[in-house]
């Protein structure tokens, strides 16, 4: 190890979030985070939803420290400790000749790390912030400490931070295999297809509420396992068959099957939440309205155009068959859920704004002029102004990447503290 206490070595990575289309709900092992069933997710484009994490090591650091969205948080939790322990035990020699830094494998146990993480979307609002967060923590530390493990092996470490984090180690469509081993070594993620495989898909997220959710997914899941009489039946009898069908649908880009399975599995996950004692409600009336509109539209079209899925919160994740459908979907969403009069359209529709252009919407005048969709028969249709905070237009995206541009780092290269 270099003897100067001054040096700081850093790595910065960007990791996507993911949304499950076959849901993970229920652990068979709380500590190792081993699930009761396989799950499948789509990785979301990190340009619109991602976590950026910088990790740094320096002989001058006196303890492991972490900052989330600029605020220091405790690393004492078992989940952080599990990830740090698992990564440190796999760390390898690192040498930066330019800076004259050499860290040997055995040194890592004594060195402390600083971690700074930033989500470009609201934390704990049902947008899988912990998934992207733990995936990014593990990925960036693995780069810093020169781990030789492949992404699947890293996913088994990220899993111990937050179950769904393991699926954020890949782009495209990802399967988390539940595994059989008691030590969890075979409970890891694999990529099903890359994001280019099905690049017609467009995803629109309706952010219904950015308030902190009432029941965390960790405690909700535990209560479901302990009290729902439907959960085990779902995990053992229903999900295994759905996983096979979903893999097939993704492989064949069969949107009808994909949408049918995605919607049914989202609804069944929320059904299990409702079957929990006390019952857990993640969806609200706005979520229900969105489902009803999508179901009505899909039925009127004769085949599914849009799939919906909801995680542990009221936000709708809507997956459109293609750009053309996405534009029509956005028109419908803006018709039913126009922004408040004081909300600028530019801050109401975020992400890939070209969908707005495709929808022929340039300003609030265009939103006001939207006609009621033809499938709505009970006119005048009711509008729900202000029920949606904003929409995010995105698409399936790539997995984690290392950011070599040091200007993107969240920690100061001199001090190792947040910029």
């Amino acid at each position: 190890m270099a003897d100067s206490k001054k040096w700081v070595l850093m790595a910065t990575a960007q990791t996507p979030t993911n949304i499950a289309v076959i849901k993970y709900w229920g652990k068979r092992d709380e500590t190792l985070i081993l699930p009761v069933n396989d799950s499948i997710s789509v990785t979301l484009d990190p340009s619109h939803l991602c976590t950026t994490t910088t990790v740094a090591v320096s002989p001058g650091f006196e303890q492991d420290r972490m900052w989330l969205n600029g605020k220091e948080i405790s690393l004492s939790g078992g989940r952080f400790q599990s990830c740090l322990r698992e990564i440190r035990s796999r760390a390898c020699d690192v040498e930066d000749k330019e800076k004259g830094i050499k860290i040997e494998k055995k040194d890592w146990e004594k060195l402390h790390v600083h971690i700074a993480s930033y989500n470009n979307f609201p934390t704990a609002a049902g947008l899988a912030s912990s998934a992207a967060g733990f995936a990014c923590l593990v990925f960036s530390l693995a780069k810093l400490m020169n781990l030789k493990e492949n992404p699947s092996q890293l996913s088994a470490i990220a899993r111990q931070g937050s179950g769904s984090a393991c699926r954020s180690l890949f782009g495209g469509f990802v399967k988390w295999i539940m595994g059989k081993d008691e030590n969890g070594s075979d409970s890891l993620a694999v990529q099903l297809v890359e994001e280019e495989h099905w690049n017609e898909l467009v995803i629109i997220i309706a952010v219904v509420s950015a308030r902190q959710k009432e029941t965390s997914s960790t405690s909700g899941m535990r209560e479901s396992v302990e009290t729902s009489l439907l959960l085990q039946h779902r995990a053992k009898e229903i999900v295994p068959k759905r996983i096979v069908k979903m893999e097939e649908a993704i492989k064949n880009r069969d949107f009808s099957s994909f949408a049918q399975l995605t919607c049914a599995d989202s609804n069944q996950f929320h059904a299990v939440c409702l079957d929990t004692s006390p019952p857990i409600f993640y969806m609200n009336d706005t979520s229900h309205r969105i489902i009803s509109y999508v179901e009505k539209w899909n039925r009127s079209e004769g085949s599914p155009q849009v799939a919906y899925t909801f995680d542990a919160g009221p936000n709708a994740v809507l997956i459109a068959r293609d750009r053309q459908v996405a534009a029509q979907l956005l028109r419908r969403l803006l018709f039913f859920f126009p922004p408040n009069s004081d909300t600028d359209l530019n801050s109401y529709v975020l992400g890939d704004k070209s969908i707005l252009h495709d929808a022929g919407i340039g300003g609030s005048k265009d939103v006001e002029a939207l006609q009621c969709p033809p499938e709505i028969t009970n006119v005048p249709a009711q509008k729900y102004t202000g029920e949606i905070n904003n929409f995010i237009c995105t698409k399936p995206g790539r997995g984690p990447v290392l950011l070599s541009d040091e200007s993107k780092a969240l920690l100061n290269l001199e001090t190792g503290l947040p910029k």
Copy 2:
């Protein structure tokens, strides 16, 4: 048969509604209305919620006719026809010496009936109006036509009008045995205990919305049977065990078990609705709020004080352990859901008004002065003015009765037409 075409013979009956505490959801035979599982209900006091039906027969009637809440409705539906056919086939000799009327068994096939029915509560708002309605139709026709069948045998006829109607043929707690026969002859209701057995219970119904519901229970149930992968598991594996436990709880007046089973089964029924494709939402945000308050209160008390159950609509049926708890419950409900400023308290809390008195509430000033319940920690608590249409205070009640007072008849004794 008397040869004068002038005479009209009538019978008027009053039949209670009922609310299931172990739910009926799913038919194994659509025509005979045979369920996929047993169910258990509590009969509600007919002084507050009931159907009154007058049936009349006259050689002057040219066809079967029916009026519901003053408006003529068609009797051509299969369910009405099933009930009428089953009852006519069992009709016996009737003689009214005073009026000089004699109808022989064989005459009934040729005679037409007039039926007038009136609900003292909103129709099709999830308050089991069809249950009370068909039970009253069958009960009053059975009296008019002098059927020898006992109430259980009559329940098997009422069942063919509306499944849950069979449970309205008795007071107290009632079990609908699903039966095994293909012809449905053993799918009927039996009384578990009379209403006096557990007369401490007080029931408060929160009428969340009296709008017509979107998905009728008939079509909802069919869609659940066809598409929910959880329904059969519930029907075959879960409900049979719950039925045994619920009978035990009722027999022993074990409120804790009763409440736990009632709430869990209501939630599971709604979970199956959510697992249906397209999903069915009967509860809304107001329903969810009521559940959350009750769960929080029950937890803070250490043992359940109040059970909740929701049928195919957003209305909450709350069953309080005793009068004292009911008064506390009403105070809490009025705190969270005060009436609109233009709503009189007297039209906001209906039914047994003595609960209002027990709650120490004499007028709107008292409602405004209500303190936040101690179990609510995030003060100031949010209030939801206007989300509830009204509350109905009631209790377990008796089964159908014949009303001998002719002034209560809904049909004119001279014309056989609605008064």
